[in-house]
């Protein structure tokens, strides 16, 4: 309840700021961005995050689960290890490295975002399966469930909340990182922030930053609801 209140207050502040700045007549020697600009860049932002995140889920979840399988277990350490190391590199650095390799443009921005979003998804998918109490798997096996039955009926349902948590974390981080994607030719709310930085108009920076923050809060809340919906009843606390 209290958390929800904090979220609503935060959201009102971010949206309020955006509206206030947009309604101003002028910012120093420049007009503020219009609602149309914000909407267009907001949509671009969502598109980039959406595509990158879907790619991250498409690769991260199966890969994370695959390296828990008996035959591929020895791949787990290098793959998950690499993912963990990747996560420690600052997002700006990841994006900066991508620019010379992939060139400038919307696509390379998406690939940079994908690489950075992959890590939490991959790590949680692996941990979700790997951290299941071995006694549960042993008793499933001991009762005569086949490998496929154990995977579908036991492992996946139990890992689902953890995997979902990974996707949620990854998405929220991705919304933030996407503001940097303009540096390699991406679109999105980062463009407004960047313009503000170049022209040294703080209010313009806020006009890009506030809707970005609002987007992160909204997506986080939506995904939290989805996560809870995906969590089997017996695993819910309280």
């Amino acid at each position: 309840m209290r958390r929800r209140l904090v979220l609503i207050i935060l959201l009102s502040i971010f949206i309020g700021l955006t509206v206030w700045i947009t309604e101003l007549d002028s910012l120093k020697y420049m007009q503020p961005k219009t609602y149309g600009d914000i909407m267009r860049q907001g949509w671009n932002h969502i598109k980039m995050v959406g595509i990158a995140e879907l790619l991250a889920i498409g690769v991260g979840v199966p890969l994370g689960i695959l390296v828990t399988r008996p035959g591929l277990k020895n791949l787990a350490t290098p793959i998950v290890g690499t993912a963990n190391v990747g996560q420690t590199i600052p997002s700006l650095a990841v994006i900066a490295i991508m620019a010379p390799i992939l060139g400038y443009g919307f696509n390379s921005a998406i690939i940079a975002l994908f690489v950075y979003s992959l890590l939490p998804v991959l790590r949680n998918s692996y941990a979700g399966i790997n951290d299941i109490d071995p006694a549960i798997i042993e008793s499933a096996k001991g009762m005569g469930m086949s490998r496929a039955q154990i995977a579908w009926k036991i492992e996946l349902p139990l890992a689902r909340p953890v995997i979902m948590a990974g996707i949620r974390t990854s998405t929220v981080i991705c919304v933030g990182t996407a503001t940097l994607a303009v540096l390699v030719g991406g679109e999105g709310l980062g463009k407004i922030i960047l313009t503000g930085l170049y022209t040294q108009i703080p209010l313009l920076i806020v006009q890009g930053a506030a809707p970005t923050a609002a987007l992160a809060v909204i997506l986080d809340t939506l995904l939290e609801g989805f996560e809870s919906w995906m969590t089997p009843r017996g695993l819910k606390k309280g």
Binding site: A135, S139, G142, M143, G144, P232, G234, L235
Partner: protein
């Protein structure tokens, strides 16, 4: 029936976990695999349902070599319960218990009926518990559901790996008693792993004592206590094995039938005379229907000049009920500081008399020929 024939488990690194074990578990028998940790008892059990592959030797289930059976089919014919229970947290109690029935494609109604019956058997109210999740249960209840789940599809064989290991001693004791009662009814062929000698003695029809992957002694508990094969067995069963063997014997095995009794309103003088002539200094007092009232001894009687038996009677003598173990009876004797203990049935009707002297004699015999509650020994 389960038959192990020179079964060996050698791991790729050369570790010999089980070094050629041969024994047989008869139908309806509870066989305890006992031994210190690392003795190979769990490994031996897991080779029966092939959770661990057998390196050498054969295991026959009702005459069929278990290597020739599909491993999942094989496991569905054997209940499996482990110490950590391993209930599926995302499934209700009913879904957990119905795991194997569902694998065997039972109908939903059949599965539910079976779950209800099993919960009932485990002393849990089906209406209350059937839709609960494991997190909503106490440790003891989870343990019960774990056992119920292993009985899910009514398998003829059960494998149990310290199924009562992870709970407090009082609950464990109760669960053991309950399970023994259930076993009397369902008569499964059970392989039961434990490291606890007391549990082994209490639960087992037979005990297989293992050490370093070898079967040291395979015998009924009473024989294990009375005739340990070597020093290791003697040390393992403990120096109090005499007391342990008392736990295996019931009062009715040691009591004297129809002891001499008097009634409350008998004349005290007559009773004193009887004691004098028969040279006895202790008599049990009963009321109508042979129900125990108390006892009267010679010294007390002499202090009272005349009257009825009731005037010299001691009311609280303690007693032992038919079916209790000699160990419990001995405890009562020591607590009440008496050398004679009346034995009664549920209705407090006198059945016999247990004397300290008889107990001593019996303990002596234990070492020579007695086999306790296992007459075939």
């Amino acid at each position: 029936m389960i038959k192990l024939q020179d079964v060996k488990k050698i791991y790729p690194d050369g570790t010999k976990a089980v070094k050629g074990v041969t024994f047989e578990v008869k139908e309806g028998e509870l066989c305890v695999l006992l031994g210190p940790s690392g003795c190979g008892k769990t490994t031996t059990m897991k080779m029966i349902n092939r959770l661990i592959p057998i390196t050498e030797g054969d295991i026959y289930i009702d005459g069929t070599n278990n290597k020739e059976m599909d491993e999942n089919e094989l496991r569905r014919e054997m209940g499996y319960a482990i110490q950590e229970i391993g209930l599926f947290p995302h499934m209700t109690v009913e879904e957990n218990i119905s795991t194997v029935p569902k694998l065997k494609k039972w109908s939903a109604e059949e599965s539910e009926e079976r779950s209800r019956k099993l919960l009932d058997l485990m002393g849990m109210d089906p209406d209350e518990f059937i839709d609960k999740y494991p997190t909503e249960l106490s440790g003891g209840q989870r343990q019960r559901v774990g056992v119920a789940r292993s009985l899910g599809a009514d398998p003829p064989i059960m494998l149990m790996d310290e199924p009562f290991g992870a709970i407090d001693p009082i609950t464990r004791d109760r669960l053991q008693d309950e399970f023994l009662k259930i076993q009397e009814e369902i008569k499964k062929t059970i392989v039961f792993v434990t490291h606890d000698i007391n549990e082994a003695i209490k639960m087992g029809d037979k005990v297989a004592l293992l050490k370093d992957g070898e079967l040291i002694q395979y015998a009924p508990p009473a024989e294990l206590l009375a005739a340990p094969k070597n020093r290791f067995v003697r040390d393992f069963v403990g120096s109090d094995r005499t007391l342990k063997s008392l736990r295996l014997m019931r009062v009715e095995e040691a009591m004297k039938q129809s002891p001499r009794v008097v009634r409350e309103d008998d004349d005290l003088e007559d009773v004193k005379r009887t004691m004098e002539t028969n040279e006895i200094n202790y008599l049990i007092v009963v009321e109508t229907g042979n129900r125990l009232k108390g006892w009267i001894n010679k010294e007390d009687a002499e202090g009272v000049d005349s009257g009825r038996v009731a005037d010299a009677m001691v009311a609280d003598t303690g007693s032992a009920q038919i079916g209790t173990s000699l160990a419990e009876a001995l405890t009562v004797m020591l607590e009440k500081d008496v050398a004679n203990l009346p034995v009664v049935d549920e209705a407090n009707k006198l059945q016999g008399l247990l004397t300290f002297h008889d107990l001593q004699k019996l303990i002596g015999e234990t070492y020579t020929e007695r086999g306790g509650r296992h007459p075939e020994v």
